[in-house]
């Protein structure tokens, strides 16, 4: 028998087939989901759907209020979570000495990212809603989501800080810069692409979140009536797009549900491309968990 002759084992062929079939299933899933939502949802989306709110008097059926709520929650959550997350990463990477303290902080950050969103929802409802008295409001929702996305921002900032060369630090400190000056003018700008990636991923998480918001931000769907209303809105109940999708699904309004699903899908697609683009352009390591 020649050494060159390739003997095919049956088990090899079967396994290779299994591998290909599995991959095929995974792809089919994605293509199926995206195209199904697209086909079912595209008919619902028009200008009126995007710019009006649900109202039986005016006979409109739009989601403008929910779009606004989503934007409110994204902005508010990021305003609170980003500074804390970045600060936490700076502490872990620049100040902390390895030891029990760091182990505890890293363990809790890890734990936070493993807690399911429904638990965050319960906690947010009783802590921010009842104990602190914010009730069902956009603020309660944003504070709840803050805890949820904290690990995402912290970890991505940490990854970015780790890639800043050690020589930058010793150089700056050697020239007499203080640590705060070093962080402000050298570390943070160098870590910016990583931080931005973390923020974009967080937006994706916020947009897709539903269980943590159902009992915290509630399901309000109206637009503010007056200009002052835009300020007081954060203390009022406001359902995001996902919540509205859930409610319409539960009511059996499937056409509307698919319309919202398509919008969500487009946002997620956009965020995905943006992170891809950023990580390629700036060579950022992305931590999605």
């Amino acid at each position: 028998m020649s050494l060159e002759r390739k003997k095919k084992r049956i088990s090899d062929v079967v396994l290779l087939w299994l591998v290909y079939i599995s991959a095929f299933i995974s792809i089919l899933m994605l293509v199926g989901i995206v195209s199904y939502v697209f086909i079912k949802g595209i008919a619902t989306i028009n200008w009126e759907f995007l710019t009006t709110v649900r109202s039986s008097i005016k006979e409109t059926n739009g989601i403008a209020g929910n779009i606004l709520n989503t934007i409110y929650i994204i902005v508010l959550t990021l305003l609170i979570a980003t500074p804390i997350g970045i600060g936490s990463a700076i502490y872990l990477n620049e100040y902390a000495k390895p030891g029990r303290m760091v182990r505890i902080i890293e363990f809790t950050t890890e734990t936070l990212s493993g807690i399911p969103s429904i638990i965050f929802g319960l906690f947010g409802m009783i802590f921010f809603g009842n104990t602190l008295g914010f009730g069902y409001s956009i603020l309660t929702g944003a504070l709840t989501l803050t805890i949820m996305i904290l690990p995402l921002i912290t970890r991505n900032t940490q990854e970015a800080l780790k890639t800043v060369p050690q020589s930058y630090r010793s150089g700056a400190l050697g020239m007499g810069a203080t640590k705060w000056y070093l962080i402000r003018t050298i570390l943070l700008p160098s870590a910016m692409p990583g931080i931005i990636t973390g923020i974009i991923l967080s937006i994706g998480r916020i947009v897709g979140e539903s269980a943590a918001l159902l009992f915290t931000a509630g399901s309000g769907y109206l637009l503010p009536a007056s200009t002052e209303g835009y300020l007081s809105k954060i203390m009022e109940s406001g359902g995001t797009l996902t919540i509205e999708l859930y409610l319409r699904m539960a009511k059996g309004q499937y056409a509307d549900a698919f319309g919202i699903a398509l919008i969500l899908l487009l946002i997620v697609l956009g965020i995905n491309f943006l992170t891809k683009y950023l990580s390629r352009k700036f060579d950022v390591r992305v931590d999605r968990r």
């Binding site: 599995s22 299933i25 902080i105 429904i118 638990i119 897709g208």
Partner: protein, 311 residues
Amino acid sequence: MKAQNFSIMGSNKTKSAVEKVAQWVFTFCALCAVFAVFSITAYMIINGTPALAKVGVTDILFGTVWKPTAGEPSYGILYVILTSITGTALAIFMGVPIGVMTAVFLAEAAPKKLAKLVKPAVELLAGIPSIIYGLLGLMILNPLVYKIETFLFKDSETHQFTGGSNLISAVIVLAIMILPTVINISESALRAVPKQYKEASLAVGASHMQTIFKVMIPAAKSGIITAIVLGVGRAIGEAMAISLVSGSVVNFPLPFNSVRFLTTAIVSEMGYAADTHREVLFTIGLVLFVFIMLINVVMTRVLKGGAGNES
């Protein structure tokens, strides 16, 4: 500028004050996560235990009758707990083989160009909001499962038809949802296997498939276990995707029964529950929280035990 500012010693005081404040602020930020986990744990225990005392531990945890709004209410959640465990186990059983195989495809079997197309697709799958999985499960999966159900039980007189909203549908949705997690982590575990292992195995005459399944997968074991543990965490904690798909009736977890999970029990009843009923829902939350914490502990063990496999 005044003259004294030119001294190199001049502004030391304010500078060191700023330094101190900065360090305090950063430390405070880092402690936020600790504080959050601590208060979540405390709140879950404080709110979850009163019902256990009021109704009785065995009556809640081992009771099988769930009638929270009846005249003589009964709060047994055994079936709910069993449903969550069974559902998660089945989803893992279904999703992990496909996930690991796809990871093998991405890391080893696929031509580079194809892998470059598949990888972003998997990442996108991870980003799709869970509620959309629920919507699709309701619109596509339930009718399909209903067809199978009518076929299987057409002669049965005792079967309660679910219209496709049953454990099987929920399990399939969960299996799809854990796919991206399993694929991504297994793939990086496979890629982290030292090249020498593969080369040595090929050099002694093992085929490519033998090398993958007998050398590389065992070597990537701890990474794959991490993937499974994370998958378990994701499946047991998922709420919105399966709340409408699973039928939401408290039942023994048989494949074609409408069932209620720990998570969906909270989602579907928290809106109107009051008094003891509400407290029991928090107990359900506590049970879920305990499961998640156990998973986290297992996870840290695995990560510590695993040599060199990055998650």
